[in-house]
């Protein structure tokens, strides 16, 4: 491999949307589609479909939701929770607890949503969610993988519930508090360094969004992980190229992202974020550096109706009953 970037040529009919991966280069090519992985890709596709279905259902019932995040990241989260991250097993779907209070000195209220990730061990991986506004998508992924009771979504954004709109560390699947973006990477470096001092073999994964690469702290973290040669650290990024104000290249450009991260001393894999085989192959490839999986995604994948609202896709709230009816129709198609 020529350097640490594995290049996937991507093209798109939409300036901000990458539709598919067509070509890749380097030794990973052979692995594509026949990864030899033990991970069941058909199961992962089922999880991804379930994520989109549940988030759309919820959005319809609540007249709002982070729908484009579900469309862009469904395959990423289904890969992470479907086997790419070696999480400890969950015995049974858990019901979320009510909010009991903020943490306080003396270990008060310090329990976190990590319980939905199973009992941690030296051999298992850890998964830290950075963009906390993906909470609904994370909850859907937890339900689809048997870790969270499906009734939990009834508590979403309800007063007194931990199933919050923007997850915090008491929320299912959240191990830390990351709603102020770009803090999870640093926290995860601390976790990974501590695990290394104990000689643990498990990896530490961080799910990130591309908007976080506008924050200076992200680059401080990338620099530190490289300085400490933290090869147990993996970030997987939903590069949906969209943020609250609109397309990222209009709000604040971050490209060339892969080259920048590579220059910081990381192994960078540039991927189609809807290509499950590619994500699995990149996660299992050999490497001795901290690793970034930059997953270019389509924020309307699986729900083309959303394209009508481009370029502002951050949050879906129906503007009319007519619009809601069209989404209702799309939902009916999904559950067929």
């Amino acid at each position: 491999m020529c350097d640490t970037i594995v290049h996937f040529r991507v093209h798109s009919h939409h300036p901000h949307v990458v539709k598919r991966t067509t070509v890749l280069r380097g030794k990973d090519n052979d692995a594509m589609g026949q990864t030899g992985s033990a991970i069941d890709t058909s199961h992962i596709h089922d999880i991804a479909a379930g994520i989109r279905r549940r988030v759309l259902d919820h959005t319809l019932n609540n007249n709002g939701g982070y729908m484009s995040q579900a469309c862009s990241s469904a395959e990423l989260l289904s890969c992470l929770y479907g086997g790419v991250v070696n999480l400890p097993p969950a015995d049974a779907p858990l019901l979320p607890k009510s909010f009991v209070g903020a943490p306080a000195p003396g270990g008060i209220n310090r329990a976190t949503g990590a319980v939905f990730h199973g009992a941690p061990s030296a051999e298992h991986d850890r998964l830290i969610i950075s963009p906390a506004h993906y909470a609904l998508v994370v909850y859907a992924a937890l339900i689809e993988t048997g870790r969270l009771d499906e009734d939990a979504l009834a508590d979403f954004n309800k007063d007194g519930s931990t199933v919050e709109m923007i997850g915090a560390e008491h929320s299912p699947g959240f191990e830390t508090t990351t709603g102020s973006l770009a803090q999870a990477l640093s926290q995860s470096i601390g976790i990974a360094l501590a695990r290394r001092t104990r000689g643990e073999s498990g990896k530490t994964w961080v799910f990130m969004s591309d908007g976080e690469f506008q924050e200076g702290q992200t680059w401080e973290g990338l620099q530190a992980a490289s300085h400490y040669s933290l090869d147990s650290l993996r970030i997987i990024v939903d590069v949906n190229q969209a943020q609250c104000d609109g397309p990222m290249d209009q709000v604040m450009s971050i490209e060339p992202l892969a080259e920048k991260i590579s220059a910081f001393g990381w192994d960078v894999h540039k991927l189609d974020g809807h290509d499950v085989d590619g994500i699995i192959a990149a996660s299992e490839a050999e490497g001795s550096k901290p690793r970034a999986l930059l997953c270019f995604t389509d924020p309307v994948r699986g729900l083309p109706l959303l394209e009508d609202r481009a370029p502002v896709l951050h949050y879906l709230r129906f503007k009319s009953e007519d619009e809601r009816a069209r989404y209702q129709e799309a939902y009916k198609e999904m559950v067929k």
Binding site: A102, P103, A104, P105, G106, G107, I108, R110, A168, E169, E175, T176, T177, T178, G179, S180, Q183, A184, L185, S186, Q187, S188, I189, G190, I191, A192, L193, A194, R195, T197, R198, G216, Q217, E220, G221, Q223, A224, H227, Y228
Partner: protein, 337 residues
């Protein structure tokens, strides 16, 4: 007679204290020798993490380590612990109430480094941050013993720490006590509450003031949060003429404000005078120069007492500069420190 001066009390004390504590790690942001942990780094290299000039990341890394059972002790200048990375301090460390120790050097106007290096509002900001415990040390004995009381707290701790040549005012065998002021003298005219280096400064003027027949009830405060020591209510309630606070910090939000809150909540109507930085930034100059310029010195205390009593005490500048403490230790012991 003057106080014993101890060179770098933190350096040797922290080195010895952490020897048998493998969970203790040090994180530093390119001020390692300046914060007296250069020898520590060389002694325990596997427990030392250089984080470079990247404090936001350092706070987050510390949070992650603390979640995994390590006890991170961050060493840098105070301003780089709370001012630059405040969001990271709050969301990564304070909200989860993680046992991260923030050892902040150069509190207030102790550096000629100027406004960028002078932490004059750190106590105000961090008092407002839930879950924080805040200590400020006033001498070498407290520099040494604050480590143990910080270690005992299962939550985030911020220490206004002293470095370099530090006076030993309090006996080594009388360590700092959590949320418990040192009662240094008794009297009914004025209640005086001092913190940090201002205690030593006050002790220079107090013998002269007491010689004029003024009764001063003097508390040295080393726990700024929580601020619930019953000695404080007792002292301010007994003062006939005034309550005076003295801090190496802005008068907004620090010790003076904490005392004002206690007085108001307890219906104590005695006039309060807050000696401190009067809502202004400082600049690069020597500690002695800035203390005089900003009104943080012994003269400021004499003036405050005179205002409280409505009369001049006739204490000259020569007397003040010559003032030395004779027997603070014995008098302090009499008050059961």
């Amino acid at each position: 007679m003057s106080f014993e001066v101890v060179a770098r009390p933190h350096q040797e004390n922290f080195l010895a204290w952490s020897k048998d504590k493998p969970q203790v790690v040090v994180l530093s942001a390119d001020l390692t020798n300046s914060c007296e942990v250069g020898v520590w780094r060389d002694t325990y290299p596997e427990r030392f993490f250089s984080m470079g000039m990247a404090e936001q990341n350092m706070l987050g890394v510390a949070a992650g380590m603390a979640r995994e059972g390590l006890e991170p002790w961050l060493h840098t200048f105070s301003v780089f612990l709370y001012r630059r990375p405040l969001d990271q301090l709050q969301m990564s460390v304070a909200y989860p109430s993680l046992p991260v120790r923030l050892v902040g050097f150069l509190p207030g106007i102790m550096t000629p480094g100027g406004v960028t290096h002078q932490a004059i509002e750190d106590v105000a900001i961090l008092r407002a941050v839930p879950n924080m415990t805040i200590f400020e040390v006033g001498d070498a004995t407290e520099v040494e013993s604050v480590i143990e009381i910080a270690h005992a707290i299962d939550g985030p701790v911020y220490i206004r720490q002293l470095r370099g040549e530090v006076s030993r005012i309090f006996p080594r065998e009388e360590p700092i006590i959590f949320n418990h002021a040192r009662h240094l003298s008794s009297g009914n005219d004025v209640s005086l509450l001092t913190s940090g280096i201002m205690t030593e400064e006050a002790l220079r003027a107090l013998p002269l003031i007491k010689d004029k027949g003024v009764g001063v009830d003097h508390l040295h405060i080393s726990t700024l949060k929580p601020f619930s020591d019953p000695q404080v209510v007792q002292s301010v309630s007994n003062a006939k003429h005034a309550v005076i606070t003295m801090e190496n910090h802005s008068i907004v939000g620090g010790l003076g404000s904490a005392v004002a809150e206690v007085m108001a909540e307890n219906g104590v109507g005695t006039p309060l005078q807050r000696i401190g930085i009067r809502d202004t930034y400082a600049h690069g100059a020597s500690q002695k120069y800035l203390m005089a310029e900003l009104g943080l010195d012994a003269r400021a205390l004499v003036t405050a007492v005179e205002k409280a009593l409505g009369k001049s005490l006739g204490i000259s500048d020569d007397e003040l500069s010559d003032a030395r403490i004779i027997d603070v230790h014995s008098s302090a012991k009499a008050e059961a420190l």
